[in-house]
Amino acid sequence: MRKKSLVDSMLIVLSVTVFFVALGMVFFYAPREATMGEVQRIFYFHVASAWVGFFGFFVTFVGGIGYLATNNRRWGILAFSSAEVGLVYISMTLVTGMLWAKPAWGTYWTWEPRLTISAVQWLLYVAYVMLRGSVLSPEREARFAAVYGIAAFVTVPLSWFAIRWWRTIHPQVVSSEGMALAPKMIHTLLVSIATFTLVYVVLLRQRIALEHARDRLAALRLRDETSTL
């Protein structure tokens, strides 16, 4: 337990440090974008949170398969902890996107394909979290969440195909031809992604620890109840 908390403390210190480095790079290292100006800097948070959010949902997908294959609760805990953290990141993506859209497009929200599909994904994982809290049997809770997490992730690529034939006004930063960015912008983006990933790991570990603590508390309560019978 002591070793675990030492690792967590080190990770927290490291992520805070790297976070300030990333902030410094976003505001002082990355050059000012010629067309959009300062507002473009939100892009480093927007893209990084989107990437890590998708990674979080991928972990949920893998955790769901692991749980169904092994019936081991640890996989279930990993799956829904990652979904919750991923949901926070995708929420951040939506908010930063809206903040950027107002000066760039003149509106916070438009029924543009990427925005629509991001909103759908956000709703998918809100539904996932709601489902977890609503299942009657504790054993079925993890199983249902695993099944929904798998189905939700499988539909993500389909969502992207569904918008390919829709004309989009969303900027394409990364395409098959590479990144349309200046080298300093690429460095800043990569550091931002690394920082957000590190924060994801910290949050995920804390969320998993919380779930294990809940399990231990439930076991203790049950022991108390049975001993007083």
Binding site: T116, L124, P138, R143, V154, D215, A218, R221, L222
Partner: protein
Amino acid sequence: MIDIHNLTKSFGPRRALAGVDLHVAPGECVVLCGPNGAGKTTLLRILATLARPTSGEVRIAGLDSAKAGADVRQQIGFLSHRTLLYDDLTAEQNLAFYARMYAIPDAEVRVDALLERVGLSARRHDLVRTYSRGMQQRLAVVRAVLHRPALVLLDEPYTGLDPLAADALTALLTDLTGEGCTLLLTSHNLQSDVTINRRAVVLNRGRIVYDAPHTDAATFPALYRELVKDARGKKQESANHESRIMNHESRVTHHEPPLQHPTSKIQNPNFFRQVWAIVAKDIAAELHTREIFSAMFVFAVLALLIFSFALDLRGSLAQAAAPGVLWATIAFAGTLGLSRSMAREQQTGGIEGLLLAPVDRAALFFGKALGNLALMLAVELVLVPLAMVMFDVAFLRSGVLLTLLLGTVAYAAVGTLLAAIAVNTRAREVMLPILLLPLLTPLLIAAVKATGALLEGATWAEIGGWGQILVVYNLVIIAVALLTFGYVIEE
């Protein structure tokens, strides 16, 4: 017949069974007693393959119950707390359905004989929901023994029976043991005829605390109270504990070869027949009530009207909005129907009846999904012409009809999976649309876009990606639903 070794079962942190060892010989009748919450029902449900053990080994007729699946289920008859009958079917339809599930060759003769035996012949054509509790219980017993199982598990079989019906049940159980059938029943009535002179197993807090013949009706209740009270003490000496589990000869664990019982005469159930039986059962139930179709249709018409007023759909605007309005209406009405269809399955435990039968989980999924598809298509059959009249749009084109079919198939497939999840949640009335609609959005986008393009005169080949999305979505979602449905419906 039954070999249980070191069986445990936990529900989260709560341990329902804590290392149960039990052997029951073929033809034996064992009475399982114990206070509420002792683990009796959990033990029976594990034996019936309705619940998975946390650890330990369970063998039925020499077969590993975790691996043998349908072969084990063919050997078992289970009478649960719930009747596992369909309220909206007649007694005869219920039994005919289960006979098809078990592929019973002489089904009609068997059904006639058993209905006569329990005194329900005269009411065989009545819906089960018109039966009294006692009549339902008698019919449930018939369902449990219909396929001539080698092992019959009965959870409180005398519940709700009047003295005459209880006597008839006792006679039936005695006949079953006479035919070589093994019985394991739970009972709180320690002085009934069926429990006396039987082997009694007392379960308390997930452990067997007594296992010996129950011969003295006068003294056993007092002994039972002492056992239960004693086991509730904080420290029970294990030596004392063991002394009450007599050296019953049948406790020696050995693995028998699969029993040659009348069930071996039963043919292997055919996958497609089982699928069709489930579809036919759902259609028959709907024909009796017409509740799902009526609700979906009325809701769909209301949705069309509300969209028309809310969006002020007239002239060219109506024609442009028609694909979107039609698909939104199908989505909302479909969700309503799917929810009710699965709730009907859960109502009296019909889904458990299906899980008990030697049915492939894939057959179960296809049966339920096709039943739901039939209902949705029936509603669309009326809805589409209505929308054509209301919006002055020619939906009756081969491309549009193909789009409707593909969209509805995917909707029924993923809806069946998620409805099975939603009925087991606290917020079951609202959970299905929350789970289903975000998952179906890509499909709905593709369906609306494809329908719109086809209405404007494009061919199926010209709609390009939208058609591909519909096909790929169907393939992917049916594969996911097929692979995961078993995990969703099993306990």
